[in-house]
Amino acid sequence: MSAQVHRENVVLQSLGQIGSCGLFLLRVLAAVPRSLRHVRETVRQLWFVGAMSLTIIMTCGLFVGMVLGLQLYHVLAIFGGTSASGSVVALSIYRELGPVVTALLFAGRAGTSITAEIGLMRATDQIAAMEMMAVDPIAYVVAPRFLAGLIAMPLLCCVFCAMGIFGGHLVGVSWLGVDNGTFWSNMTSTVDVYQDIINGVIWKSVGFGAVCSLIAVFQGYTTAPTSEGVAYATTRTVVASSIAILALDFILTAFLM
């Protein structure tokens, strides 16, 4: 009985969270025009959220591409189709792994730091201080981070994909001896710009960027102003972002493919 009540509470709480997250999105979007006055702040956040994530994104992209090259080579070798490894590596990266892995890494690297930063600003009264200095914290703190995430994600995803292709090429061509020309010609004949790159890479990662940064700023902004509250909010950012990314991935794949 009490377990059921508890479960209902969890469901209601989750719904409440989603609802207030949606309302928060409206507030952020309403503040975006005002935040354009703080372009500098957006640029600064783009540096922290985007440029600082490049190392992890590039390293992971390289390894994902290399693993794919290796795995797919051995599967394709069974059918004597190793020449197709270029196209299979490219399609797997563009359609799924690129956007999803980039978004998961982004949630772990940038999302948590956004949440922790805003949460600490809340806990140390910096948000209240801005209110008192007649500066809207949504426009000055939240919107620039949201925009930075929105802009950074597709760019990071492109870098990830390029590194992945490079890694796949490294393993497939340089190591396992797939013909260089075949690798590229197979890839170029199967990859479609609109279907795979615009829909697969760009739109998906824009969607992921919006969701990840919204969750990060929301958790940070609404955190309980204590050290436990910040820690808890950071954890929730990763959990909620991961679930949201994979669920949204399914929806976007169904609509875009």
Binding site: L120, M121, T124, D125, A128, A134
Partner: protein
């Protein structure tokens, strides 16, 4: 009946609170509170912990709104102001947070320059001059390039004070400015509050517990308890006005109008010495 938004500013009173009633999660914080803060004076607000002194400051700045009553600040009825009007009013109010609330992203100079950069498009030279003047006033011009994490508590509070006065406000609210300061830093802050008040004529409101410090700096003291003003007067003489509240608060007695025991059921019954229904 709707409350008016604007009134003619009073010549002598900057902040006028009338019938302020606030209930927070079932607890009555203010019960028809009336309070006046005179222009150009230093007013101290004291009271036992949990009586809503900080909450009162938040009502003055519009960060919180009461359930009833009026809060007039320089002719504006704060609870009725729109967000834009409130922001305009806040540009003329300085607020010193208990923990300074410096922006950790910026160094001391940028922290003090922050309000200027946000609300004006002054040339860089002018901003530099204003900021250095304010930093000089709090004695920290040499610390301009330090980060907030490199400052001691007292220094951080002085930087926050420099930031609060960068627009030459008409009113500064100090939230517990003496907490956690060593005697030297405490006297530095005391001196600053006094100097700012005397040289710039800034009206100051400070929330504090330290009677000795308040005696040195304040012109008027309000003692708040149970959501009402229970005593007021000159800080040097208020302790002797004979009311039980002042006797307990300033005399430091553990029991009195503010009970030692948090309200509870009958002690003997809780321990089981008394039969259920006596």
């Amino acid at each position: 009946m709707t409350d008016p938004v604007l009134a003619k500013p009073d010549e002598r009173t900057l902040v006028r609170i009338r019938g302020l009633t606030t209930v927070l999660s079932g607890k009555t914080v203010f019960d028809a509170l009336d309070l006046d803060i005179p222009r150009g004076k230093v007013t101290a607000i004291m009271g036992p912990s949990g009586t809503g002194k900080t909450t009162l400051l938040k009502h003055i700045t519009g960060q919180m709104r009461g359930d009833a009553g009026q809060v007039w600040v320089d002719g504006f009825n704060v609870p009725r102001l729109s967000r834009e009007q409130l922001f305009t009013l806040r540009e003329r109010i300085g607020y010193l947070f208990q923990n300074s609330a410096l922006l950790t992203d910026f160094d001391v100079f940028e922290n003090v320059a922050f309000p200027l950069r946000q609300h004006t498009s002054l040339p860089e030279v002018l901003i530099r001059n204003i900021v250095l003047t304010k930093l000089q006033a709090v004695g920290l011009r040499g610390a301009a390039s330090l980060l907030p994490t490199e400052l001691s508590g007292g220094m951080a509070r002085r930087v926050a004070l420099a930031r609060a006065i960068v627009f030459d406000p008409m009113l500064i609210l100090y939230d517990e400015p003496f907490v956690g300061l060593d005697p030297i830093a405490l006297h530095q802050v005391l001196k600053l509050i006094r100097t700012l008040n005397e040289t710039l004529g800034i009206t100051s409101v400070l929330v504090a517990h330290e009677l000795e410090a308040i005696k040195q700096v304040a012109d008027h003291v309000y003692l708040i308890a149970n959501g009402k003003v229970v005593a007021q007067g000159n800080p040097k003489t208020i302790a002797d006005d004979g009311s039980p509240w002042t006797r307990q608060f300033f005399g430091g007695e553990s029991d009195g109008p503010v009970p030692f025991q948090y309200p509870a059921d009958d002690y003997a019954q809780a321990l089981g010495f008394k039969e259920g229904i006596a």
